[in-house]
Symmetry: C2
Subunit: 512 residues, 2 copies
């Protein structure tokens, strides 16, 4: 990172800070590799020791990062920071480091330990309760999670809403005052669209449910993402159970995928999705390496990139104008007689359903908005844990018109509340969808030829625009700053609904 000061004393302090942060980053990167290996290649016998090794690395990284030396350097550099223009790399480094330092130091280790132990217990109980379809057994655990989530928030006093500190951890600068009306609006405006589409004849997506051999699926996906701009000299793709993106350095950003041979969608779209995350990380300014700036700025912006490449690009008609003949050539027996239009409608089929992770592009946000609303009610004390299943069912009936036959496919379906706090985890998904549309609209406004290029299998203009405007900055700007800089506006639903109306209006041949 460029250090601009002429003062040798300050230069030395910044250099020392960078070295300390680099050491923490090394430990975190090592932990990331241990996690990756556990999810890809590790034999089952390695599990017990791997857990201990990860705990040691994470503890050491935490100890090193919360060391008083870092706090002192930040204090000593505070007056220097105030002389810096806010948009400089150094100012951003000092701001982001301070933010993380506060996050890490305000919570006492004893609380973190209590939380970690409780989450381990809660997860274990949930993992059995879900297949057993037993909500009652998780109630005391969820109640304790709720209590601990409130306590965690209270370590960051001065909030407007108790969920704010929890949201802020993953989506810095976002809060309930912004998100509640946004998500409420989102839900209100989505419901009639979903209803209108539900009244249309069902799309036939049976063409996707055939036998598609693994290797051909993988090869096709690799061809696509290389063309997107994914750099295989700085990454690789491996198989796993739950696909994810992970990074060990800016030169090593890996993705994982899962293949279902009986369904074409899974591997292909999750590959594009994880690639979107990876393009963001691969595109970060190399001078940020080993600092807290060398990361996507929030879960919302991260998700906007996975969604943009998966949905705006990968589920577009333009994209398949170019790629569908190749796909047909890859799977002639399965798709040779299936027309482009049929295929395109199949991969964009809208159908209200019970399970969030299986939801289509349109109804997905309703799943998220429901969870967000329930989280807030729980944290506010307006909803008791034992009332959760009824509240869940009511919102699903109102919003999606579906009702889970039992908790397994309702309130017990997601791991999030059983693997962390209540509050803070879900908003990023919908923020991602909204931002994907807002950024994509801006890219097309800047370069109207982008859709035509996509229809020719060319993505360089789009990729370059994203790298220039979003990727290179890493965590330098907050979500709100970035949206403002990139679009000249604040977070808005307009481009997202324009996109949805245009796309699904055409597919279902109705005015939305």
């Amino acid at each position: 990172m460029k250090i601009t000061t002429q003062s040798p004393e300050i230069q030395k302090k910044v250099t020392t800070l960078l070295e300390l942060l680099g050491e923490v980053n090394d430990l975190q990167s090592a932990a990331a590799l241990l996690n990756w290996d556990q999810a890809t290649y590790m034999p089952s016998g390695g599990g017990a020791a791997r857990g201990r090794q990860l705990a040691t690395l994470e503890r050491l990284a935490h100890e090193k990062f919360t060391d008083v030396a870092i706090g002192q350097l930040l204090d000593q550099l505070e007056s220097y920071r105030q002389t810096l223009a806010p948009e400089t790399d150094e100012a951003a480094l000092l701001r982001e480091t301070r933010r993380r330092y506060e996050l890490a130091t305000r919570v006492p280790p004893s609380f973190t330990e209590k939380m970690t132990n409780h989450v381990a217990d809660a997860y274990e109980v949930w993992a059995k309760a879900r297949p057993a379809d037993d909500f009652a057994v998780v109630v005391p655990y969820l109640e304790k999670t709720l209590d601990l989530s409130r306590q965690l928030a209270d370590y960051f006093p001065g909030y407007q809403h108790i969920a704010d500190p929890l949201i802020d951890r993953n989506d810095y600068g976002m809060n309930v005052a912004t998100l509640r009306p946004l998500f409420s609006d989102l839900r209100t405006r989505l419901q009639p669209l979903v209803k209108a589409i539900s009244e249309q004849p069902q799309v036939d997506d049976s063409c996707l449910a055939q036998h598609f051999p693994e290797q051909q699926q993988l090869d096709f996906g690799v061809g696509v993402i290389q063309q997107f701009g994914y750099d295989f000299t700085r990454g690789r793709q491996d198989k796993t159970y739950h696909p994810f993106m992970t990074k060990f350095s800016l030169g090593d950003v890996r993705i994982t995928t899962r293949i279902r041979e009986d369904h074409l969608g899974e591997c292909l779209f999750s590959t594009m999705h994880e690639t979107g995350h990876a393009l963001y990380e691969q595109g970060i300014d190399a001078s940020f390496e080993r600092t807290p700036l060398a990361e996507g700025t929030s879960s919302g912006v991260h998700e906007s990139q996975s969604r943009l490449w998966e949905n705006q690009v990968g589920r577009s008609l333009d994209f398949w104008h170019h790629y569908y003949p190749q796909l047909q050539a890859t799977f002639p027996a399965q798709l040779g007689t299936v027309g482009l239009e049929t295929f395109y409608r199949a991969i964009n089929k809208v159908q209200p359903s019970l399970i969030r992770t299986d939801a289509d592009e349109l109804t997905y946000n309703l799943h998220v908005a429901i969870r967000f609303e329930l989280e807030l009610a729980l944290l506010e004390g307006k909803l008791a844990v034992k009332e959760l299943p009824d509240a869940w069912d009511e919102l699903y009936a109102t919003s999606l018109g579906v009702t889970a036959p039992s908790p397994r496919d309702g309130v017990l379906q997601d791991v999030h509340w059983f693997a962390g706090t209540i509050g803070g985890a879900f908003q990023g998904y919908s923020l991602g969808n909204i931002l994907a549309a807002q950024f994509y609209a801006q890219a097309i406004q800047a370069h109207p030829a982008i859709p035509t290029e996509i229809a020719e299998g060319q993505f360089a203009t789009l990729y370059d625009w994203l790298r220039e405007n979003i990727y290179q900055h890493g965590a330098k700007f907050t979500t709100a700053e970035l949206v403002q800089r990139v679009t000249g506006e604040s977070l808005s639903l307009t481009p997202y609904f324009d996109y949805l109306r245009g796309k699904f209006g055409a597919i279902y041949q109705i005015e939305l």
Copy 2:
């Protein structure tokens, strides 16, 4: 590990020591995974950051291990140690920890840094000098390596020979007084065998130099090593450039291999070789996990296991009585008309050659003995670095009857002197060959049915005997103690020469 004392105070100290050692082990295991990944899957772009991450992990592991707290605990537990029977686990733990602590703390960090930096430079120069066939350019680097090797030895005063501390690091308890006469004897007795065989008609091994597709080679190897006893729930095999075994815990012991499609030997025998190392590590007493005892006891004993499974088992006629029909069925076009006897002779062909790593079972030790003798002469000051090529050529001519046309295939061939000290690295290879024969002879004496079982593709009796007598003990006994316990004798060349004479006498149909 079982702590036997009734004293709560001592119990607490041992527990604390184990916890500190466990943390060091976690960091070392993480570093091992980073190294494994670098050698198997890491994209090229990850290299620079990986180097930094490894340096951080290794530095932290060293700092944690050399912490004064460990030294104090060892001091405080010294009187307790003296009350323990030497063959108890606790006594061994305290002995081995003390030994490593001395190795790690007696050398000042400034020297280690100087050595590390020099080795990095020397390696880089060698990596260019070898292809350029330029010995002159490495001379000043080797001279400095020699100087630093001597300095390193001097941190462990009281030695009989200056090479002793260097040898002791890898083969604890071994020294020049033992090894020089042993290796001299080895060389003297091997030379006439090699000469006698060289006078026989050449073995035709052209059957190995055909096209053997990669996947079939891999599958065949996996079938063999599973039968040996390699546990794939606690390990896996991946491809790499230079095959090695590595361990992240007793539940995760991995091997790697390299496949040449134009030669059958490479993958198959290196797979058996690395499996021998892995069987040793997988067989260690689970209660030693995360302690310094959870490792093979020396490079010599480790190599004895890789050699035993590769040579005594994998290159035996008994083994191929069972497996050759399977190999023929795997490669019918290549081997269908090649008889067992022809194949067996091909994989055991003796031919004096220039390159150690390509050498056959018999001549291999001559390569090692030559290096050992030259190392001692250098360390003793009886040979100057610039005289090394001539001395090398002379010993090769005398011992093997071959002369390198240029340094590339002579004195520049091995990385060892350019990647570490001069002294301490080579003796393990020949110790391994000698010990493999000595242990194997003992196993057959205990269970005379072993060869018959091998001829039926059964290895359980041999494996169980090795685990019981060698593997389970990890680093609990020194090499000398282990040999004495297992065979009732000290290190001896007799079983090795009995083995060589029997095997190669039969193959070449001469009295050796």
